[in-house]
Symmetry: C2
């Protein structure tokens, strides 16, 4: 804990004092079922945007804008369905201060009581015994979004200036592919977002349940499909079984050549591209608060491929993985259907890491599958293609922003945070980095067991309140850096 | 054509004379959309049963009964949905005559103009240029059912007695699993069906489009599933890819060990059970009217596994085949979903032939898959099981019934029919053989390109009219045998 502390005790105390108000703010936000994937709830998503505008206005934010993103592209039931707006707002425009853009999203995943929720998902339940707030969006991402507002409210109450100029970007389609966000960020890069020095996103989670983390890396994802096509239409296996080359047989053989069941990628050249593990990096994993047991609990099974923490973390964060997701066009229902599928599409993806070059990976994959198909000497038609890619992201965990966040975390939680990466991707991270040309910090508020996309989503009150302190403290340390 | 002809010219002529009336009868039958799989159309299925009762009554059938089969078991939308009745009727009860049970079904597959029909599926269209009757049920199976009624009408017009006692069994659920039929046949074996000497079914098709066939064999089908189960719920491949044993990886490996892409079953011991091919049987295939081109046309592709007629027919009729149908529980939609499926169920089936013993086959399959799973050294849970089996059927193509049908065919078509088998199963064949303990003859009316379950289902007028002659002629030759 060797860092120069800033005098933030008053601020942290004020956050504590405002706790009931902050919980009420989150409760109001959760009460609006802003489910972006449900077209019938689109008015509620828009209502949530207006709720934010009202809160921002009350708190004294300026230049508040609802950015219209136009009509939602197909597939949609309502061809005239409008995308929810992106909410932009500023607090402060002092040219002597740094400009920090904070991103969050105000839409949520679907939730129905019948899915197995213990309480109504859109009526926040405060479990006072355990001090937990339950409700859809509590941790993903309404808690963190309210967090930034709460930071401003505490400053207002204290009569303090914010140490930086805050630029807010809150979107309403994050749970539905962030439609329209990339274009907006690109368009506003030299307009609303001009001069931004740093982007900070609070939309991921601690690795476990007890130790705060700062996240400096994400794996990418290249998603491929193998198409094998034979007959002109699905055929009956009684009439055609044994006399026609079946696309499924080819496809299953091809899919079986991609990865072994210990997780080893069988495509030549992929592992050669992975950045070598240095001793320094290897040591990084020693401190991380994680265990095989936590993995087992999260997976709901004891089917880990590795028997120790370090190997698990390395394989989640810094090694590639290949998953077979499924097959489109084959029989997928319950029961027994005697079909020979005419055209089958096998789906798989590779999680990418430094220093895998995306285009090179595509070539290796396509060459491998093409070679394996040639071995089959099949009469069926065949194609393998990339259908989606997203780059990996790695930041410098020792830059000004991470250092500031680390100090604030130590102030609040009295512990040095773990510096973590994540196995999944958060595409907006790359969008902001690329379009604004600045560093991005992932500063999570919730715990690893919050159940962001599951039933009984929750945010622990200590995480909410200490999270607000950390967000605010971070702005102060970053301003001084 | 060395057989003693019976004096049936008058009968055949009368059928020709009645052609307009017979076409009208089929038109009325097609106009009733008796789709058994569509609960909302169940009243139409029942209406079709009553249409049959009216026709049978008018023609002088006796002891007409609508057999109530009770409530349709789940899954159904309407828990009180009644199964359509089975229509039973007799024509003649002369103890000196043989008793022939004829089976047909009065329900049809679904059909909508929007599916791509050139004309309204439930409004029969008589293409006079090509002399074809289009409409749902024309060939499957309303044409053949009307055929038996037409045979009686022609006899009535001539003032002839039927040469046999005819027992009709017409069901209304054939296209939906023949629910209730097995029980009814078992129950009536010693009641309504007592004394039946022979069962004749006209509910399959010529192999091709020009040569009549009699069908003496069907393959069976043993349907299996392999279940691989790992995590407690579907997982995100970003977070868990590379650190959890993925059930899909195991399943795809297992499925890849079952059959090669030339159609060879890779399970030890299966081919050893197949009856050896004798020279006599081998020669049987020489005469059959079929070609690789016909297979290509039917499959809509040039992906045949064999380059000559005989190998195709043998592999369709007398060799087993293994088809991979699909995977339940994996991602099966369009697009890119980054899921690690928690539990996947691979479906495959083996078409069985003489002398495969069903239980022995099950053991070979289960042992094979179990052994392959053991090789994987997987931490996932695993199970392989039979979920459905249906036996193969082979009759003696030289028995009295087949011989009679062959003679009638020669009378009418002036050609010796091909003796064929089929690759698929017709479970009712086995039901009647087993429950009544008599031989079954499959005597098809329509052509191989009639499109029984497809759009633009049709029955050529020559097939309908000559089919009626053949059905009637068969009864006469069989009576004399």
């Amino acid at each position: 804990m060797s860092y120069e502390k800033l005098p933030l005790e008053e601020f942290y105390k004020t956050i504590d004092e405002l706790k009931p108000k902050f919980i009420e703010r989150l409760q109001k936000a959760i009460a609006i079922p802003s489910v972006s994937s449900d077209e019938t709830l689109r008015p509620k998503v828009v209502e949530m945007a207006h709720f934010l505008v009202d809160e921002l206005t009350t708190l004294g934010f300026q230049d508040i804008q609802l950015k219209d993103l136009g009509i939602q592209p197909p597939p949609v039931a309502d061809a005239n369905l409008k995308l929810p707006p992106i909410v932009l707002a500023r607090f402060g425009q002092d040219p002597k201060k740094k400009n920090v853009l904070v991103y969050g999203h105000y839409d949520v995943q679907p939730a129905l009581k019948e899915d197995g929720w213990a309480t109504e998902p859109f009526t926040m339940f405060h479990d006072k015994e355990n001090d937990i707030l339950f409700g859809r969006g509590s941790t993903d991402d309404k808690g963190p979004v309210m967090g930034w507002l709460n930071v401003v409210e505490a400053h207002n109450k204290l009569g303090w200036e914010l140490p930086v100029n805050l630029v807010c970007c809150f979107e309403g389609m994050e749970e539905s592919g962030s439609l329209g966000l990339d274009e907006l960020v690109a368009k506003e890069a030299q307009q609303y977002f001009k001069g931004v020095d740093q982007v900070t996103i609070s939309d991921n989670y601690w690795l476990g349940t007890t130790k705060p983390v700062l996240t400096y890396g994400l794996r990418g994802c290249n998603y491929y499909q193998i198409i094998v096509e034979g007959p002109g239409a699905d055929l009956h296996s009684g009439i055609f079984g044994g006399i026609i080359a079946e696309p499924m047989t080819d496809l299953v053989k091809l899919m079986s050549t991609l990865v072994d069941n210990k997780g080893k990628i069988l495509i030549d050249g992929v592992s050669d591209m992975v950045a070598p593990l240095t001793e320094k990096e290897d040591q990084l994993y020693d401190a991380i608060d994680f265990s095989v047991e936590e993995l087992n609990a999260a997976a709901g099974s004891k089917t880990s491929l590795h028997d120790n923490k370090k190997d698990i973390l390395k394989h989640r964060w810094r090694f590639p993985s290949l998953s077979l997701h499924g097959i489109e066009g084959a029989f997928s229902g319950a029961g027994a259907k005697t079909v020979i599928p005419a055209k089958v599409v096998g789906k798989f993806s590779i999680r990418t890491v430094p220093n895998i070059v995306s285009n090179t990976l595509d070539k290796l994959v396509i060459d491998h599958v093409t070679k394996e198909f040639a071995k089959l000497d099949s009469v069926n038609k065949f194609k393998v293609e990339l259908i989606h890619d997203g780059a990996y992201w790695v930041s410098d965990p020792f830059n000004e922003s991470f250092t500031a966040a680390s100090k604030a975390t130590q102030d609040v939680w009295n512990v040095v945070p773990d510096f973590t990466r994540e196995g999944g991707s958060i595409p907006i991270t790359l969008t902001f980095e690329k379009e604004l040309g600045v560093d991005v910090l992932l500063l999570p508020m919730g715990r690893g067991d919050d159940g962001a996309h599951s039933i009984n989503e929750k945010l622990d009150v200590p995480n909410y309140i200490n999270g607000c302190k950390t967000l605010g403290g971070y702005l102060h340390y970053y301003a001084k850096a």
